[in-house]
């Protein structure tokens, strides 16, 4: 059976877990504690030299990158389809997957880090940091631990996030799910990103400002696959688990 390496069911790890449960794929799970830097131990780097979760080890291939990973699971396994049939709805879905990575993940990670993670390191970088494979990522960890944030980038990122939340509200006022009338990978991946947002950015996501988004969040949280995914948490507070996210798109 395939093996999923994941951290707390938040962001990419949540997306991979929910997707596998929705498809009904039998899999083995291996918990990697990212704030304990288990992702840069030799045992894990042998699986993914990039030192990132989630990773699906499936026979002779190692599947990385959240968006491509969930699409792989949908295409490689039997089970209910998680991609709509109509080309326009498929385009909507893929646009959400792209925005999840480019707009949602960096901004939400920055908010989550400040709220939940910043206090954990006392400004002291752990020795394991030196093993983070990519120099730019290592540098971003070091700066975040030192409390050195790019305020301008975070502000611009937050404004993009708020714009995208508005787009979610518009879409969900029209259709039941983000890519139209069919539940899809867009719902899974965007839910995995925004699940903590009512708490992190309450002004932008609440029952008054975004009623359709809040109702959709409720439907998502009630899904058995989502509840199974959340049960993989070891902290009992997966929405508080934040490491360094993908970088804000550097240009353009």
């Amino acid at each position: 059976v395939p093996k999923l390496y994941h951290w707390e069911p938040n962001q990419g790890s949540a997306a991979a877990l929910i997707c596998l449960h929705e498809k009904g794929v039998a899999f083995e799970a291996d918990y990697v504690d990212v704030l304990a830097f288990e992702q840069v131990r030799p045992r894990f780097l042998a699986v993914n030299p990039a030192g990132l979760v989630p990773v699906l080890s499936d026979g002779d291939v190692t599947i990385t990158e959240t968006g491509p990973l969930v699409q792989y699971v949908d295409e490689a396994y039997a089970g209910p389809p998680l991609t709509p049939a109509a080309p326009y709805d498929r385009w909507l879905m893929r646009r959400w997957l792209k925005f999840a990575q480019e707009d949602f993940a960096p901004a939400i990670s920055a908010l989550g880090w400040r709220r939940h993670t910043a206090g954990r390191f006392d400004g002291q970088p752990p020795a394991a940091l030196a093993k983070v494979p990519r120099p730019d990522r290592r540098d971003r960890w070091a700066r975040a631990i030192a409390g050195d944030f790019d305020e301008e980038a975070e502000t611009a990122g937050r404004s993009k996030l708020i714009r995208e939340i508005g787009r979610m509200e518009d879409q969900l006022a029209e259709t039941a799910w983000l890519a139209g009338e069919t539940y899809s990978l867009a719902d899974i991946v965007i839910f995995s990103m925004v699940n903590p947002v009512p708490e992190l950015l309450p002004d932008a996501m609440n029952a008054k400002a975004t009623p359709h988004v809040m109702a959709w969040l409720g439907r998502m949280r009630a899904r058995p696959a989502v509840q199974k995914a959340m049960a993989a948490s070891r902290t009992n507070d997966p929405a508080a688990a934040f490491a360094i996210g993908p970088e804000f798109v550097r240009w353009g």
């Binding site: 295409e75 498929r90 385009w91 646009r95 120099p135 240009w251 353009g252």
Partner: protein, 253 residues
């Protein structure tokens, strides 16, 4: 139903990848050229199609399809013609990883270098008033910030160095992939090749120390195979600027 494409002429990376996908698929489309240097993409008519003021936009059945890689996927899904996605899920996964890599890493790195080489001098010729007026028309905060940084010349050397490093990693990554299979996703020509071609074809000329016959022979041979394709030749014949980096840098993914 009519298919229309709004794209930059000279053709940039993002316009090029969608344009080439339409040609490979054999789609008949109406061509609407935008002039990036005249800021056509910030005119109200165009913003009505794409409120973010980004290029290209495909209009099909009266609906605007935007964002580079998702538009390419849409073209493959919506039209008859040769399939541009492999059938094997593992090969499809590789194809999608190239799209992610281009949008998040290789593309922005090239864009940053291009802005500092091309757009910055171009903006520098403009008066402060002209630039202020332009910035007011940019529809999104992040684009306004990019234009402002280009005008004020505030891209730190460390960031440019990081972009050059990513170019170097990209050249090595291309060579490694093409040493093991003829096309980027494996045995089949796919959207990954169309996508990367538009970001990589200028490398032998502008980064000759990174991409050349000795250092990256497989990537060079792939570029030759790409150039020989009828769709690429048609794109070359119909457009200008594909042998150089994008002229305005005003496109985004």
């Amino acid at each position: 139903m009519a298919v229309e494409l709004y794209f930059f002429q000279p053709l940039g990376t993002n316009s090029g990848r969608v344009y080439l996908t339409l040609l490979e698929k054999g789609v008949d489309f109406v061509r609407h050229e935008l002039d990036g240097r005249a800021f056509d993409h910030f005119q109200p008519d165009y913003l009505a199609i794409n409120p973010k003021g980004q290029v290209p936009s495909l209009v099909h059945d009266g609906r605007a399809i935007t964002e580079g890689a998702p538009t390419m996927d849409y073209i493959d899904d919506a039209f008859e013609g040769p399939p541009l996605k492999p059938s094997d899920p593992k090969a499809r996964w590789r194809m999608r990883c190239w799209a992610e890599y281009i949008d998040q890493d290789f593309g922005p790195a090239g864009m940053m270098l291009n802005w500092s080489n091309v757009v910055r001098p171009f903006m520098g010729e403009r008066s402060r008033d002209e630039v202020e007026a332009l910035l007011k028309r940019v529809p999104t905060d992040e684009r306004r910030r990019a234009w402002k940084r280009a005008y004020e010349r505030v891209v730190p050397e460390a960031e440019l160095a990081e972009s050059r490093r990513r170019n170097e990693v990209g050249a090595a990554r291309m060579e490694a992939a093409l040493a093991t299979s003829p096309w980027l996703a494996g045995d089949d020509y796919s959207l990954a090749d169309i996508n990367m071609f538009n970001f990589f074809s200028w490398m032998p000329r502008f980064q000759p120390d990174l991409v050349n016959a000795e250092k990256t022979p497989h990537a060079m041979a792939w570029l030759d195979r790409m150039e020989a394709r009828p769709a690429v030749q048609q794109m070359r014949a119909e457009t200008t600027g594909r042998r150089t980096p994008p002229q305005t840098g005003a496109e985004t993914t």
